[in-house]
Each structure stands twice: as C-alpha cells, then as structure tokens.
Symmetry: none
Subunit: 224 residues, 2 copies
C-alpha cells in the first residue's frame, strides 16, 4: 500500500513517515503543495494524506486540482483546529475523510485503512465542463441550473466529448465511438455538432464546443 504524505512541517512529516512505515505502508513525502500535486499526479498512490496549510499551493487547492483532473485517489485531509478552512470545505472539495490536529496515530491509521477498504474513489456521478453538466445515470444535461433536452444521439455525442474534455477529437473518432461505424459520411457529425451548439451553447452565449479546423472538435473544459 503506497501512501503519499503532503506535510510541510518537517518533524510532523518525519513522524508520520516513521509511524506509517511501521504499519507496513510505503510512504513518500512531499513538503509543499506543488511537489505534492506533482507526486500525486504521477505516483500511483493508494491514498494521500494532505495537510491543508502548505507553502506554494494549499492542500485545499491540491485537492481541488486533482479532482478537476479526474484523479480520484482517496484523500485524507489534515487541518489545524483553528484553521480558516473547516471540515465542510474539505469534504466539499472532494476529500474523502478529514482529521483535525492534534490527532492520534491510532485514529489516523484506522481512518486510512477504512479509506482503503471502501476503495473510496468517490467517483462523481456526473461529467462536467464549467457549468455544463451531464449525468449518465439520470440521462440529464443542464447548463447552470437550466435543464437541456437532448435526443439520444445528441446525448451520446455530448457524453463522448465530455469524456474527452479539452482534447481535440476527430470526426472519424466520433463516428467510431458514437455512431459505431467508420464508413459513414462525416457530415452527419457536423450536423449533430450544430444541433448541440444550438442547445448547449447558443442560448447561453457560450462557445464550449469549438471547431478545430482540419482536426476535429474540442469541448472546452471551462464551459466556454
């Protein structure tokens, strides 16, 4: 089990490392938010212990950033009891559990094990791009608070674009994954992109669904 501990206070960090190693975890340390973010992105950890008060990038933002990147590693947040952030904020941001300093080892380890057990990964039910949301289970789409009605084909197309948010996807990729064919006239994609724009962008004066001439389309992650 690999644990990443992001904690700037040296003594605290070292203590955590020793303690967790004694429990059988493989522990990496990061001493500021930037390093923590970097390691969390590339390190394939089973769980992250994240202090809130950190130099450079706050734990608050590390968490937010990771979730925004669709990284669902379980996160346990730590905060000083007098902190400006509280537990509610932490959990809102996508942390999976929360401890207030001072805390006991026993409690920390118990919580970590609980996180690992339930596989945490609070995978969100919905896909997002800015204030555009799509809920695959409920088959619902909305721009801000306004629900948007889509036909099945439109829905499938938007879902595909959202799953590749910010990437450029070619018409042939779209044909293959949304239409399940590859020898169809690509014009049908253009037509449906047009339909989507008239439903999710135009009425809201947005421009999320962008054309990349010669390459394909891109759905802007900030919602346009």
């Amino acid at each position: 089990m690999r644990v990443l501990v992001v904690e700037d206070e040296r003594r605290m960090a070292a203590a955590l490392q020793r303690g967790l190693q004694a429990e059988g975890f493989a522990v990496d340390l990061a001493h500021d938010g930037e390093e923590g973010l970097h390691l969390a992105r590339h390190g394939e950890y089973d769980v992250v212990v994240l202090d809130i008060m950190l130099p450079r990038v706050s734990g608050y933002n590390v968490c937010k950033q990771l979730r925004a990147e669709e990284n669902w590693v379980p996160i346990l947040m730590l905060s000083a009891k007098d902190g400006e952030y509280d537990m509610a904020d932490g959990l809102d941001l996508g942390a999976d559990d929360y401890l207030t300093k001072p805390f006991s080892y026993v409690v920390l380890v118990a919580r970590l094990r609980a996180l690992l057990r339930r596989g945490a990964h609070r995978r969100p039910a919905v896909l997002r791009a800015g204030d555009l949301t799509l809920d695959p289970a409920r088959r619902r789409v909305s721009r801000g608070d306004t629900p948007v009605e889509l036909t099945p084909r439109e829905f499938a197309l938007l879902e595909y674009l959202l799953r590749h948010r910010d990437e450029v996807v070619s018409k042939s990729e779209i044909l293959e994954h949304v239409w399940d064919t590859f020898d169809t006239d690509p014009n049908v994609v253009e037509v449906y992109v047009g339909y989507l724009r008239r439903k999710i962008d135009a009425p809201f004066s947005r421009n999320a669904l962008q054309t990349v001439r010669g390459a394909g389309y891109r759905l802007a992650g900030d919602g346009g």
Copy 2:
C-alpha cells in the same frame, strides 16, 4: 466505529467526545445543525448522536432532512426534559432512539452499542416520489391521499422504478428484474408502462413516469 456528535454546548460536546473516545469510538464533533447535516451527509458515520436544541438548524430538522435524502444512518436523539419536542416527535421523524437529559454515560453507550448491533437503519417503510407512495409491506400505493389499485405486475414494475427513482432504467433491465427474463419482447414493458400511467399519472394530470427515447424510462423523484 465512527460517531458524529452534534451538540452546541461546548462542555457537553467535549465530555461526550472524551467519553466515547475512551470507549473506542472515533468521534467527530459538529457544533450546529448545519455543520452536523453537512458532516452526516459526507462522513460515512456508523451512528449519529443528535441534540435537538441547536443553532441554525434544529436537530429535529437535521433528522428530517437526512431521512428525506434517504440517509438511514442510525440516529440517537438527545433532548432537555423540558424541551418543546418530545420523544414521540423524535421517533416520528426517523430517529432510532431517544435520550432525555440528564442521562448517564453508561446508558448512552449501551444504547449506542444496541443501535450499532441491530444495524438499526430503520429502513424506510414506504417508497416515495413526490406525493406518490408505495408501501411494499402493505402492498399499497397512493397518489396523495387517493389510494390506487394496481395488479401484481403493475405493482412490481412501479416498485422497481421507485427503487431507481430519477435514474433511467432500460427495458432490458426492467425485463430482467420485474419479469425475470431477458429474451421476452420488450413491448410488454411498454404496455405495462402505459397501464401504470393511466393509473398513477393521467388521472392526476401528472407526468412522473417519463419516456427517455432510446434509453428507457425514468420515474421523476418530484412526482412529476
């Protein structure tokens, strides 16, 4: 075992925390109803100890709210003996047990352990979607105060849809779970959806049972 204690009186809260930690519980504190509600929603507690008199949101409403959200975490309510609410109210609202201040630790801990043992979760007696209710035990359905007569098949279908309220369920899922086959003509589902609509929606000018073309059906949680 994780316990959430929602109690505004600092000394009382601290005492409960110490006492319960000594008993081996992991204890989180919330000092008003709003914080309590938030933590209870996100914290995955095994049991909640909930004072009734609280700032911002009363324990009364915290409990009501959680149950309305289908959160069945066991709740033990606390109240001053002269309170305006009494035990009956608390239990009506969906609390699982009830203690009147002052109480002894021994009793509190015993009650908590009892709740945890029986896994409490006073499972909801009825399924709801807006003013549409279905009582699986009594085999009764009503729209508002008006009882609705359903055949066994119609009842089973509605029950399945209610258990997946707001989600889109496909005809094949319905066939599998309500008809217990998967190679039957899906038209039979269409027929029964039609029957249901004529009994639970049309006479009340509602539209709870919605068609999601190409995907299946959705029972709207707000009752249509």
